[in-house]
């Protein structure tokens, strides 16, 4: 057991981008909560491992109503943020995991782990990444749809006027989230909704957003818009029928905060 991969420890974001290149044969180690055991047990066998701990990507900055979160910022740093981001961050793992796992690692993790995708999609976050063609900024939605060969540098979002988060309860800190819905009312008054647990990655619920004034109809629209598959946590049938209730709860909380 163990990994013989070459280890690279960049000292800046630009060094990290350079070392990452096109991502071929590279594994990125941020907090390590997913990758370290995979390396140890041989489930991951990259040629090179980039350790991002000293790459200068651990930050939360605020400027003119925009919040920017570096990719290696630990999840615990977001626990104090307003809904939906803060409550979502607080619901991930346990104390030690939240202190070690990173925002970028969570966003780019395999299906079943990316809890933070939900609130950040609802917030309409922008993802800044490096890779082939250099650095680029795009919506998080676009980034998640095609993130192969990209190194996430940070995400940024406009602080919302209000937010809400609803999740199916976890019986234990180490259970993964079955499904969660995040909702945001933007400074411009728009309602934005997103779900995790209804597909491989999180997704916006635009059909529900269009009906946000009618929570019942919005919930039904959300349920009709997804086609979740079965996995060990829950059946697709269960997820599709649970989603409307979560959407209605989020819209109710958003309305109450008006």
């Amino acid at each position: 057991m163990g990994s013989s991969a070459e280890v690279i420890q960049p000292g800046s974001p630009s060094e990290a981008a350079s070392a990452f290149g096109d991502g071929d044969g590279v594994a990125v180690l941020a907090g390590g909560t997913l990758l370290v055991p995979d390396l140890h047990f041989g489930r991951a066998r990259p040629e090179r491992v980039i350790m991002l701990g000293d790459a200068g990507l651990n930050y939360v900055s605020r400027s003119n109503g925009t919040v920017t979160v570096g990719a290696t910022t630990p999840i615990v740093a977001l626990v104090g943020e307003s809904a939906p981001l803060g409550p979502c961050a607080a619901s991930i793992g346990d104390n030690e995991i939240r202190a070690q796992a990173t925002v970028g690692g969570n966003l780019c993790a395999p299906a079943g782990f990316g809890d933070l995708q939900g609130p950040l999609l609802a917030l309409g976050a922008t993802a800044r990444s490096a890779g082939v063609g250099g650095e680029r900024s795009e919506s998080l939605e676009d980034f998640l749809a095609d993130r192969a060969g990209r190194l996430l540098l940070d995400v940024s979002y406009a602080e919302p006027a209000a937010g809400a988060f609803a999740s199916l309860g976890r019986p234990h800190a180490h259970h993964y989230t079955v499904m969660a819905v995040s909702g945001v009312r933007t400074a411009g008054g728009a309602t934005q909704l997103a779900v995790v647990g209804a597909g491989e990655v999180g997704s916006r619920l635009r059909s529900a957003e269009a009906l946000a004034g009618d929570a019942e109809a919005a919930g039904d629209a959300a349920g009709a818009a997804v086609n979740p598959s079965d996995d060990p946590l829950a059946s697709g049938w269960y997820r599709a029928r649970t989603l409307p209730a979560l959407v209605k709860q989020v819209l109710s909380e958003l309305e109450a905060s008006a």
Partner: protein
């Protein structure tokens, strides 16, 4: 590379991607961190890294160069146990003992961070730690009492969760 384990400078020969857990147990002969699930799910391997509890099974040793690593061996010796260690003895909070080092490390960090004796808060602080013996109530008793210290280790605490065999 070097790390400081329980106050002692130690040179590490293991490759940088080796889990800290295996560096401690197999190279440095520090055996209190336990290899349980080795996927971050049980808490038995938890150590303090620069004062913060971390899963040593999830921590590549190369990611913590020069770190101050503390295990239960560094909290106190049998003749000079820390208050948390004494509390675990006094409340019989260990059964098989496999989870105990991780529990004690997490409880120590919780109390040093100003944690209270509130059971719900202690439960949240220890949420990532699994006791296969299910001895959670006595562990909660011990952590809740640990701040006061001064335990008489010749006796067992009177607790509805502790049965004293006579």
């Amino acid at each position: 590379m070097n790390i400081v384990v329980n106050g002692n400078n130690r040179t590490v020969e293991s490759p940088p991607l080796t889990p800290l857990l295996h560096v401690l147990r197999e190279e440095l002969d520090v055996l209190s961190p336990k290899a349980g699930c080795e996927n971050g799910g049980c808490g038995a391997c938890t150590v303090l890294v620069d004062g913060t509890p971390r899963r040593s099974c999830l921590t590549a040793v190369g990611s913590v160069p020069d770190a101050q690593v503390t295990t239960v061996e560094g909290l106190g010796a049998p003749e000079s146990m820390s208050d948390v260690q004494q509390a675990f003895v006094h409340y019989c909070a260990a059964q098989c003992g496999f989870c105990t080092p991780g529990m004690i490390i997490a409880a120590t960090a919780y109390l040093e961070g100003g944690g209270s004796a509130d059971r719900a808060e202690i439960s949240e602080a220890l949420a990532g730690h699994v006791c296969r013996c299910t001895g959670y109530l006595k562990i909660l008793d011990a952590v809740a009492a640990a701040r006061d210290g001064g335990f008489d280790l010749s006796t067992t605490a009177e607790s509805p969760h502790t049965t004293v065999l006579t």
